[in-house]
């Protein structure tokens, strides 16, 4: 493996990790607060991607500025998170918080299946490809490798900004601190007047918007077609589990680990590409069942 191939593998891995992180961090945030493993999380990613690819395609064909791709991604993520995420939390999840975990997973799995069909209904099965955002930023040469600025610089920067922004939000704003309080002890939080229903709703919308934002960003780099949501939920679950569920900073490192593992596999052992993320997860969980950064909790009764 020469320097150029290594550089290429690193760049691929980092760009991919940035996208996976965005989805995994939403998943882990939702789990940390609501204690629900949201299988439908992959649908937010897919729908975010579909909305940007289809709306972007339409407005660029009508001659609008390619730079509108970026605000479009933010708006699409916010709309998917608030409208779709909000509806699912209020109408469905709110009824099952005190039910068994197996039932909760089945319900979110059902939502995932329904949303898969909704996507087929709305966008059909033909792939959408809308790379205007990617092309508008051009290429850059690093270590003799040409790579897109979008993937090499923008995606990692956005992922870091999301990580830093989340930290800042959770620790230094009242809303964020209320989320942390509810995460630690729901009853004690209620006892000081925190409306936990509102916190759950807000957290779910935020998590869903992050997944949709990941999809929106990914839409410029890949074809959007049925099944991308399923791929992503499994991968982001591997990242969240490797990091330890509920760990935000850990999710960033685990995403990097799994992203790089996968991209090096592509160049070294392509037949293992699909397997590598799960191998990493398996090895980590064998060594530390609570995940790299997870803490074993004694839950209060």
């Amino acid at each position: 493996m020469n320097l150029q191939l290594i550089a290429l593998a690193v760049f691929d891995g980092v760009a991919y990790a940035a996208l996976v992180f965005m989805v995994a961090v939403g998943l882990t945030l939702i789990f940390g607060v609501l204690r629900i493993l949201n299988v439908a999380h992959g649908s937010f990613y897919a729908i975010g991607a579909y909305v940007v690819a289809s709306v972007g395609g339409a407005i660029f064909a009508a001659g609008w500025s390619p730079w509108l791709a970026f605000p479009l991604m933010l708006i699409a993520a916010a709309v998917v998170g608030i409208v779709l995420g909000g509806l699912i939390e209020r109408l469905l999840l709110r009824r099952i918080y005190d039910k068994e975990e197996a039932l909760q997973i089945l319900v979110t799995f059902a939502v995932f299946m329904i949303l898969e069909d909704v996507q087929r209904l709305v966008w059909g099965v033909q792939p959408y490809f809308e790379a205007t955002a990617l092309q508008s930023l051009g290429n850059i040469q690093v270590f003799g490798v040409y790579y897109t600025v979008y993937q090499l610089i923008l995606l990692p920067l956005v992922a870091l900004a999301v990580l830093a922004g989340l930290r800042l939000f959770l620790r230094h704003t009242l809303s964020g601190r209320l989320i942390l309080a509810v995460t630690e002890d729901r009853e004690a939080a209620t006892a000081i007047g925190i409306d936990t229903d509102k916190i759950y709703l807000m957290t779910f919308m935020l998590g869903a918007a992050l997944a949709a934002f990941g999809g929106a960003l990914a839409s410029a780099t890949t074809s959007v077609l049925p099944g991308i949501g399923a791929d992503m939920i499994v991968l982001s679950f591997a990242v969240a589990a490797t990091a330890g569920l509920g760990q935000i900073e850990g999710a960033a490192l685990a995403a990097l680990l799994i992203g790089l593992g996968r991209s090096f596999a592509v160049y070294l052992m392509p037949e293992l590409e699909v397997l590598i993320p799960y191998l990493i997860m398996l090895l980590v969980l064998l060594w530390r069942p609570e995940g790299l950064f997870g803490v074993t909790q004694t839950r209060k009764i």
Binding site: L180, I192, G193
Partner: protein
């Protein structure tokens, strides 16, 4: 100001409170006495809205059972659970401030209440910047009391505050309660305790909770036994 009328509470299928009725007047200090498992904590958690309840609970003129649990602290109810339940992600001072911030008190009012709490519990001033997860169990009880004081303008409920406190700390805690009574003669206090003797000089009267039923009792340890 607080009235239970035929209140029954079941936890996991077991009736913990049975047809309980009692009345507590404003500015009273009431000791709720009972053995472990008698239902003291359940009674307090019921007032906070954490149990499924049948019967009537009135707080002032209000039907408390119709108020959502998260809205009850804003009525002026402060609660210090037995196991403290501090938020370890924040400092001691942040823990104390949080109920006031949630209730959207003005910065001036927050400051005023915080100063008052530090007057009643001077040791909290030294702990203010410490992470709440790092204080000892006894100090944690003081913090939990401070947090309850932030929002409990009408009713303060302390669940077994002396449980597990070293004697010196228990003395300081009792002094703090006296300072609280001296600064605020209006507030109603409910303190649960398995040993009534501890509250003999402080409480106005005792309610005894026994096998899910509540009756008037004595603060004299021997009589209660």
């Amino acid at each position: 100001m607080l009235e239970f009328e035929n209140v029954t509470v079941s936890l996991a299928g077991v009736r913990v409170l049975r047809n309980v009725s009692f009345k507590i007047d404003a500015s009273e200090t009431v000791a709720l006495i009972g053995a472990n498992g008698a239902g003291k904590t359940t009674a307090l958690r019921t007032i906070m809205g954490f149990t499924d309840v049948s019967g009537e609970i009135r707080f002032g003129e209000m039907a408390l059972t119709a108020v959502a649990p998260a809205k009850r602290p804003r009525l002026g109810i402060g609660y210090a659970p037995e196991d403290r339940r501090l938020f370890s992600a924040f400092t001691v001072e942040d823990n104390i401030l949080m109920p006031g911030q949630v209730a959207k008190l003005t910065p001036g009012e927050l400051r005023r209440r915080l100063d008052l709490i530090y007057e009643i519990l001077p040791e909290l001033r030294e702990l203010a910047a410490r992470p709440a997860g790092s204080v000892s169990g006894g100090q944690g009880k003081m913090v939990a009391l401070g947090r309850a004081l932030m929002i409990g303008r009408k009713l303060i409920m302390l669940d077994e505050p002396f449980q597990g406190l070293a004697p010196a700390l228990a003395r300081r805690y009792a002094e703090a309660l006296r300072r609280l009574r001296d600064t605020d003669s209006e507030v109603t206090l409910i303190i649960t305790e398995s040993n009534p003797g501890l509250l003999k000089n402080f409480a106005d009267r005792a309610l005894v909770i026994d096998r899910g039923e509540v009756r008037a009792g004595s603060l004299n340890a021997e009589e209660a036994a």
